[in-house]
Amino acid sequence: MHNFNYHRPNNVADAVTALGGAGDGKIIAGGMTLVPTLKQRLAAPSDLIDLNGIADLKGIKAESDGITIGAMTRHAEVAASSLVKSAIPALAELAELIGDRQVRNRGTIGGSLANNDPAADYPAAILGLGATVRTNKREIAADDFFQGLFETALEEGEIITAVHFPKPEKAAYRKFAQPASRFALIGVFVAKTKGGIRVAVTGGGNGVFRATDIETALAANFTPAAAKGVKLDPADFNGDLHGTPEYRAALVSTMAARAVEAC
């Protein structure tokens, strides 16, 4: 790991200033993705701006139509939160499935979203629930936030401050974990929301996406069999030693059916 200057601001404004003033600054949240990246020298920022000292970015609160989770809230806090468990139990269950206990004790929702790993869990919930990502500059709808492999709508120097989740009528997440990494080989988030049925898929290869064919089938008939009956095109999926594109495509229908069953 190359050395860097370290900053620990205690409010968002100072973090933005530190980021702007740095030659090649990078934010550190839980560090669960960034520190391994720095060790491999895949990134070598001049400055690290640590968000761990910013109290405003932490915590979970109820908001009229749902809940708002601060960007620096750890996976373990979301998994254990009685507020999340009562408003959107599927979200607490999803957080409990991320990595391992120590990763959940440090990793944050903001870091997971900003990173947008194609096999990460939270992106499926954000997109599946039609959540809104709040930053220091604006609000971004989930449908506009994720832009493919590790790409998001975030601009240079933009910091995620919170995520707002509207409460769905029903929702469930089912993940087929890759047994070594615990990341999703395929994870499917199904939600019945005010705006209709949303089905978000992670682990497919090119970043989280909505399975519109399954959404249409479920809108007509909200049953596991309806989800299971949809065949997705393997050409849209990645293949690797853990699973062929055909296997991943088939898993989506299966996991979607299990999620519907759990709704």
């Binding site: 050395n3 620990r8 520190v35 640590d50 761990n52 120590q102 440090r106």
Partner: protein
């Protein structure tokens, strides 16, 4: 170089470090606390698990400078004098180790698990130790040890 201050096993410590120094390297190289191991250095094996402000974390994935002001407990801080912590004693009693390389991390993770779940089932123990990899034991005796350690920790807590 920045100076970092923290409490390690109840003792106030400080040291000059580079910003990039990992907590595990500060503990091992600067404080000489070599009970905390580095197994993978890629955040996967859990040999480096310590407690920071009461929760278990991987000390190979935390910068020492991020632990400024924190309360850190390492495997060296568990025993009371010559008396092993109940979880350590349970690992010895139930042969929860072979080479012992993963053991400090296993014990630290297990103690943290029992703090939030005083009576974990076998399944919950296996899930709770997801982040700890052992190359030797096949995990059976580790799970037995954690079950017994949990019981002993609860009995100790009841005695006050």
């Amino acid at each position: 170089m920045p100076t970092v201050r923290m409490t390690v096993n109840g003792r106030a410590v400080s040291g000059e470090i580079e910003a990039r120094t990992l907590l595990v390297h500060f503990l091992r190289n600067q404080l000489g606390l070599t009970g905390t191991h580095v197994g993978c250095d890629t955040s996967q094996c859990g040999a480096c698990v310590v407690h920071v402000d009461g929760t278990s974390i991987k000390s190979c994935t935390l910068l020492a400078i991020q632990a400024e002001g924190a309360e850190v407990t390492t495997i060296e801080g568990l025993a009371t004098g010559d008396e092993l912590h109940p979880m350590q004693a349970a690992f010895r009693e139930h042969h929860g180790l072979q080479c012992g390389f993963c053991t400090p991390g296993m014990v630290m993770s297990a103690v943290d698990l029992v703090k939030t779940n005083p009576d974990p089932s076998e399944q919950q123990i296996r899930e709770g130790l997801e982040g700890n990899i052992c190359r030797c034991t096949g995990y059976h005796n580790i799970v037995k040890a954690v079950k017994a350690g949990a019981k002993a920790m609860n009995a100790g807590a009841m005695k006050g």
